[in-house]
Each structure stands twice: as structure tokens, then as C-alpha cells.
């Protein structure tokens, strides 16, 4: 089932052309990776797909509906995004922050009920933070804060999840555990996952599809096995990268 697609999408920030006439079709159960150099527009593309910024031209469709015609609340019921940076102007507790993920599912005067709290607590368990539920959010480490943000996204319970560098600040153990559980859920519950990643070994391990931002509007989109070649990676990163294959798994080293 098609969950998120684009038609003739043009994105430009200042003098940087992120993509030109981009056509994407992202379906339920797929995991997409977005890779490219610093400042090439990975985050901008992700924000555009989430409807958080307007396109220069072209459209983003959320389950066949033009995303600009939907209310923010309707979008947030279908699509959640993990932002690269978190801001806590007036810090509340970890649990209260995670519960904010229920916001799009509640009416104006409605309070979170026991079910909402259970969902939030389960999300905290998935990122191994249930013991910090009552801790003020400003007393967490960078990695813990990132895991709270991921728990908030899980609490939102959307069929589409966009993640901007989900691994930043995370220990190796949590990188693998969290990506394992998110991608497994995507496959089992027919969700769509799109994430920006830097580590090519994680890309080849978790993503079945790729969006490569090559610069000057040139974009390659397709299956990971087709796209993740030494030739494409040289163009992408402007640096030689070697691909090795052992026991059906590919891994990458920097030349």
C-alpha cells in the first residue's frame, strides 16, 4: 500500500538545489534510507516529506492526499518525525514529554487516559528508560534525551515514521537495539520508515530502499542492492569507499 509519495518535487534552499522533479513511491512495510554529504539537504527533504516546509514546486502525497490540504493534526495522526534537535524551554518530566506524542489523538479538552499512559510507558521500555519516567527532562544526558525523543515518536503510533539521524548521541548497543525494534515493527505492522543515516553498514543492514542525494538536484532512488555500489558511493561522498561481501552481507570500509 502506498503511504507516502511525491510528484515532480523541487526543493531549493538558497542556491542549493536538493532535488529536481523527484518522483518517489514509498509503501507500507518498507524501510528507506536517505544518504548524502553534509549540507546536501537530507534534513530539508525529510522536513518537506513531513509537510513542515513548503515545496518550491511539486507535491507530497500522504496516502494519496496532498499534504498541504490536510490539517496539521490529521498529518500528525499518520506521520511522525524525529527531529535532529530537541528543545526544552520549560522542562517537564520524561513521562510528560513522551505523553506529548498522544497530542494528535486527543481532543482539545481531553486528558490522557490510562491507555495513553500505558502506551507512553511501553515506549519508554522500548528505549530502556522506564526507570527515568519521573526525572526532569533537563537532567538527562544527550543520549538519554535522544531516546526520550524516539519514545515520543513511538508513542505517536503513526503508520509513517521519519527519523532524522536516529543514532546521534546513542551508544552502539542502543543504536542496534532501537533500529532492530523499529525496522522489525515496520515489517510486522506494515509501517513505513524513512531515515537519514551516516553509517553505510547500518544502511545496508536495515534499509531495503535508498534515496541518494548527489547534489545539484540529482537524486537516485531505488533498492539498496542496486544503488549501494562503489561507483555510486564515490560520486556520493567524493571519497573512495570499498564494498566487501562475506556470507551474503556487504560491509563497507573507507579507502
Amino acid at each position: 500500500m502506498n503511504l507516502l509519495s511525491t510528484q515532480q518535487l523541487n526543493i531549493q534552499i538558497g542556491s542549493i538545489q536538493v532535488c529536481k522533479q523527484l518522483k518517489l513511491n514509498c509503501n507500507a512495510g518498507e524501510v528507506w534510507g536517505i544518504i548524502g554529504r553534509n549540507g546536501i539537504g537530507k534534513t530539508t527533504l525529510l522536513h518537506t516529506l513531513a509537510g513542515l516546509r513548503t515545496t518550491e514546486s511539486g507535491n507530497v502525497f500522504l496516502q494519496q492526499h496532498d499534504i498541504t490540504t490536510l490539517e496539521r493534526k490529521q498529518v500528525a495522526q499518520q506521520l511522525g518525525i524525529l527531529l535532529q534537535q530537541q528543545q526544552d524551554s520549560f522542562p517537564s518530566s520524561v513521562l510528560e514529554t513522551v505523553l506529548s506524542g498522544r497530542h494528535p489523538h486527543l481532543g482539545r479538552w481531553q486528558w490522557e487516559n490510562k491507555n495513553d499512559v500505558d502506551i507512553a510507558l511501553q515506549s519508554l521500555q522500548k528505549v530502556h528508560l522506564e526507570h527515568l519516567a519521573q526525572r526532569p527532562i533537563n537532567q538527562l544526558s544527550g543520549g538519554e534525551r535522544q531516546r526520550v525523543a524516539i519514545a515520543t515518536l513511538i508513542t505517536q503510533q503513526t503508520p509513517i515514521m521519519l527519523l532524522d539521524e536516529p543514532n546521534s548521541h546513542l551508544d552502539i548497543k542502543y543504536q542496534i537495539q532501537i533500529l532492530d525494534s523499529l525496522t522489525r515493527e515496520a515489517k510486522e505492522q506494515q509501517k513505513l520508515l524513512i531515515m537519514t543515516l551516516h553509517d553505510l553498514n547500518l544502511v545496508s543492514r536495515y534499509c531495503n530502499n535508498l534515496i541518494m542525494l548527489l547534489g545539484e538536484g540529482e537524486v537516485l532512488a531505488g533498492s539498496t542492492t542496486d544503488l549501494l555500489t562503489e561507483e555510486n558511493l564515490l560520486r556520493l561522498f567524493d571519497h573512495p569507499i570499498h564494498k566487501h561481501i562475506s556470507q551474503q552481507h556487504s560491509f563497507f570500509t573507507v579507502g
Partner: protein
């Protein structure tokens, strides 16, 4: 502390503050005398003291304090800045300039109030127009526009003060520091002030969950389904309107709007569904008690209430802040 219990306690303290404020003064009244007078069984002197003097003033003080605390809380979320207060965007500056011109012209106190309101509105429109303009409406542009406009008004105020003759000068200074001695008995029968507080409370509670999320930044709020434009616009207009009405009542009383929301955050947390009623009550209590002291401390002379709010607010706030930090370190 349990949050409903905290609200209940604040309600209780509010009622006690009213009784305290009505009982003290040049003639002190006992609890029983106040009660009998409120029921209509008091002597004519007592009912004149209660209904013509002390109750109207207590009422205006409490409501003004509520308005300021609420406006301060809303401004702090809108600008996501802990230093924001109701006056930061120049609302009181515009009001002050207009009020001082009216005082200088020797006009009556009701004209001073209405021109203060007009001045506040002009300032709101000015800031709104300049910061909205073309393009996006971001918090830092709004903040800087407001601060610059406020600074401009400040210069005009100093200019008026420096050229004004001695006679109206004291009235102007009292207005600038906040003063409730103009409260009239008729205000008890005029529901406008009470309705404003109730409307402000209800509207803020309706946005409360959105405000919680807005504290996590505009992008995150938008990602979680908050429509930024209407929410930010309502926040700006509501906070400005509440401030405009507060300064019309009592001049620019400082400190309540800045400190009360922070005090309540330390006690009841940052969830705006609890923070809003707590701030409304605590703002009322602080201004009511401050005004009671302002008129009794060196009676018969009256002090500007803004001086007392700071005298009470500074130590209480520092105590709570310190206690908050100690609790964090220990946990």
C-alpha cells in the same frame, strides 16, 4: 505535592487573603464583623469601609494580579524565553506614555485609564504590524521588535518625566510603579474585570496542551499536530489584551507577571493545564497581599504597590529556586 491539592490550597489562601485585606487598615475589623457586614448585618460605617473602600480595592488588586500572571505565562511560552514578562513587548510602555500625557493634562483618573488602554492598543498593533510584515513570524523577530518598541516608549517616558512640572510628577511616578488607590466602588458591580479573567483562563486552558508542546519548539509542535499560526496569533493577542486591561486598572505593576509563573512551575510543574489556574490564583494573591501592605505599612501614607510586589516576590522566588535546585541535586 499533589497537583489538585496545590490548587485547593491556593484557593484557600486566596480567600484568607481577601479576609486579611479587608480586616486591616486604619480601623481594623474582626473576622466576625467582616462576615456580618458581608451578610448585610453590619453597621453603616463598617459597610462603608468594606463595600466602598476595601473590598473594591481588594477585588481590583486580585484580578489585576491574576491578569498579569496569566499574561506573563503566555508571553513566556510564546517567546520561549524565561525572562519574558507581560510588558516585554511594549504594551505597558505605550499605555504609560498615553497615561502620563493624560496626567500631565490634568485629566480625571477615568480618562487616564482609558487613554492608557488606547496607548496599549496602539503599541500592540505597532508591534504586531512591524514583526508580522512579510514572511514568517518567528519568536526572535517578535521579541526583538517588541523590545525595541518598549525601549522607544521608555525614552518617551523619560522625556515626559524630565520636562513635566513638579505637581503631576508624583502621580506619574506612582502610575509607573503601579498603584491601586484609584480603585472605585463601582467596579464591584461592573463584571468586566472578572469576565476578562475568566475568559483568559478558559481560553488558556483550551490551548494548554498545545502550549506544553510549543515549549518543545515550533518545529516539534508542528510535527505533533499543533497549527502554529492560529496558536501563536491567539497567544500574542490574548497576552496583549490581558496586559492592556491590567495596566488600565493599576498602572504598570512590575514583577508579578515575570515571577509568578516561574514560582508556580517550581511548585506545580510545567503542564499548562495545572500551571494556568495556579498562576491565576498566585498572581491574585501576590498582588492583593502586596497592595494590603502598600496601604498599611506606613499609613496614612501609601506606597506604590509595585515596590511591595518586588519586596515580597524576590525573597519568595529565591527561596523556591534554591529549594528546587537542592531537590534536584538530592534526587
Amino acid at each position: 505535592m499533589h497537583r489538585p491539592a496545590t490548587i485547593f490550597l491556593l484557593l484557600l489562601v486566596s480567600i484568607i487573603s481577601f479576609f486579611f485585606s479587608i480586616s486591616v487598615g486604619s480601623l481594623s475589623l474582626s473576622l466576625n464583623e467582616i462576615w456580618q457586614t458581608l451578610l448585610g448585618n453590619g453597621s453603616s460605617m463598617h459597610s462603608s469601609i468594606v463595600f466602598d473602600l476595601r473590598l473594591p480595592r481588594a477585588y481590583v488588586a486580585f484580578m489585576t494580579g491574576s491578569l498579569l500572571a496569566l499574561a506573563g505565562m503566555l508571553m513566556q511560552v510564546l517567546l520561549r524565553n524565561p525572562l519574558a514578562d507581560p510588558y516585554i513587548l511594549g504594551v505597558s510602555g505605550g499605555a504609560s506614555v498615553a497615561a502620563m500625557l493624560a496626567i500631565a493634562a490634568g485629566l480625571s483618573s477615568s480618562v487616564v485609564s482609558s487613554s492608557a488602554f488606547a496607548g496599549a492598543l496602539i503599541s500592540i498593533l505597532l508591534v504586531f504590524g512591524l514583526s508580522h510584515g512579510r514572511g514568517s513570524w518567528n519568536a526572535s523577530r517578535l521579541l526583538l521588535t517588541g523590545i525595541v518598541i518598549a525601549a522607544g516608549w521608555g525614552a518617551v517616558i523619560n522625556f515626559i518625566l524630565s520636562i513635566s512640572p513638579d505637581r503631576p510628577l508624583k502621580g506619574m511616578l506612582f502610575w509607573l510603579m503601579g498603584d491601586l488607590s484609584q480603585a472605585q466602588a463601582e467596579q464591584l458591580t461592573n463584571p468586566l474585570l472578572l469576565l476578562t479573567v475568566i475568559a483568559g483562563l478558559v481560553l488558556s486552558l483550551g490551548m494548554a496542551r498545545s502550549l506544553n508542546i510549543l515549549s518543545q519548539g515550533e518545529l516539534q509542535a508542528s510535527a505533533l499536530g499543533v497549527s502554529l499560526k492560529p496558536v501563536k496569533l491567539s497567544l500574542f493577542l490574548l497576552a496583549s489584551a490581558l496586559t492592556a486591561i491590567a495596566v488600565t486598572q493599576a498602572g504598570s505593576v512590575g514583577f508579578v507577571g515575570l515571577v509568578v509563573p516561574h514560582m508556580m512551575r517550581l511548585i506545580i510543574g510545567s503542564d499548562h493545564r495545572w500551571l494556568t489556574p495556579a498562576s491565576v490564583l498566585c498572581g491574585g494573591i501576590l498582588l492583593l497581599l502586596s497592595d494590603t501592605l502598600a496601604r498599611t505599612l506606613i499609613a496614612p501614607q501609601q506606597l506604590p504597590v509595585g515596590v511591595i510586589t518586588a519586596f515580597i516576590g524576590v525573597p519568595v522566588f529565591l527561596y523556591l529556586l534554591n529549594r528546587g535546585y537542592r531537590r534536584q541535586v538530592m534526587s
